[in-house]
Amino acid sequence: MMLTRVCLAALAAVAVSAAAAGQSSIPGLDIKVTKIERAASASLRDCPPGTNTVSAVSKPGEQFALVTVAFKVSSAYKPAPMKRPTVTDSTDKSYFTPSQFVDVASVPEFSCTFPFRVPEGTKLKALKIENASFDLAGMDK
């Protein structure tokens, strides 16, 4: 029981440290947020991206927050289904992206732009990919 508690505490500490540093806690997958933009429309592509031609368009009072993320895949990465990323705003409200991870191990290095439909002027706080959290507040100005 004691050992379990120690292990859980250690895991929690690792998770907090990974989140604070904005690092990936997915073994073999190096993840870095590179850019945040705003746009009236968003190209709907999976991650890694192909050349899908469908887009989504914002409605009045809305916009797309486009969060670009760079990925590097190493041999330690074990392919497994991954959930779609989410972002939170300054009030911790969550927003979903339609982009899905498909065949992540198919290329060693790639960049994906995840669109999030948000009310105009929304400030993003964090990006979540699986159990990793990335601080966006510093970048979203």
Binding site: L44, D46, N52, T53, V54, A56, T97, P98, Q100
Partner: protein, 274 residues
């Protein structure tokens, strides 16, 4: 849109390369070229502003500019304004794969959709529904969800037929949590001020509370991401699923006296005058 023939041929690698391409490949290359040019024109004309979509009235005004109706199935109309081509005859006892090869081809969109469903770990019923969801567009386009479900219903699991029937309705309704956005192509083909008719609204209300809501929803999610002109797909990865879930009639599709046999026969012989 005007296409500069020389620039187009050069973009493909020159006349020698073009000479090696079959008719289908040339048509596909032209379509991709025009799509790219269209994107460039839109960006140039609007300085990066969002595309201006037509209204319902503007789309309706186009009806009498065509020699065919938009709802005609693709085997009944020429592609890109050309005359129709003579179709290869079907075997005596045609299978689903024969229809894919001879009547639904190139079927790129449904193959992409099913490939995505497979790669993201969806159930075999959903993968099959994605593979079949738009095949009926060869026969008829309006209400393709209902027509498609009817065509396949005697041969596939109930969940797959449900997903095919109702993906048509759910395509009009975004679901951010499920990963479905309203596609810009719908603004283009229906008009930006389009409102789905009452029966679609009623069907949506029914589906929202249905225990199988996610079945057609997952078809729409994969549908959205299956318009990649460069994707390389084939029916090969789906042969096992078809073998397990599709009840191929021994008499051949169209000759088993099922409730949809006549629809298969129409697809097999679209040039019959009566």
């Amino acid at each position: 849109m005007e296409v500069d023939r020389r620039v187009f041929i050069a973009s493909l690698g020159g006349p020698a390369v073009v000479a090696l391409m079959d008719h289908e490949a040339k048509a596909e290359a032209l379509e991709h070229y025009m799509e790219e040019k269209l994107d460039e024109m839109v960006a140039q004309n609007q300085g990066g502003q969002p595309e201006k979509f037509p209204t319902v009235a503007e789309i309706e005004a186009q009806i009498e500019t065509r020699p065919y109706r938009r709802g005609a199935g693709s085997v009944f109309t020429g592609q890109r304004g050309e005359n129709v081509k003579k179709l290869k005859p079907m075997p005596d006892k045609p299978t689903l794969e024969d229809f894919f090869e001879l009547r639904f081809a190139p079927a790129n969109h449904v193959l992409q959709s099913a490939t995505r469903a497979m790669k993201t770990g969806m159930s075999e019923e959903i993968i099959l529904a994605c593979l079949l969801h738009d095949c009926v567009l060869s026969l008829i386009k309006p209400d393709h969800g209902w027509w498609g479900a009817q065509l396949f219903e005697p041969y596939i699991p109930e969940k797959s037929a449900f997903a095919i029937r109702y993906h048509q309705t759910l395509r009009f309704y975004p679901d951010e949590e499920a990963g479905y956005e309203y596609p810009d192509q719908y603004y283009r083909i229906f008009g930006h001020d389009y409102t789905p008719p009452q029966y679609i609204q009623d069907t949506y209300k029914m589906l929202k509370n249905h225990k199988w809501y996610m079945e057609p929803r997952l078809v729409t999610v994969n549908d959205l991401y299956a318009f990649d002109p460069n994707a390389k797909v084939s029916i090969e990865p789906f042969k096992d699923i078809i073998g397990r879930l599709f009840k191929q009639p021994k008499e051949g599709l169209g000759y088993d006296n099922s409730p949809s046999a006549h629809m298969w026969r129409t697809l097999a012989r679209p040039d019959n005058p009566l």
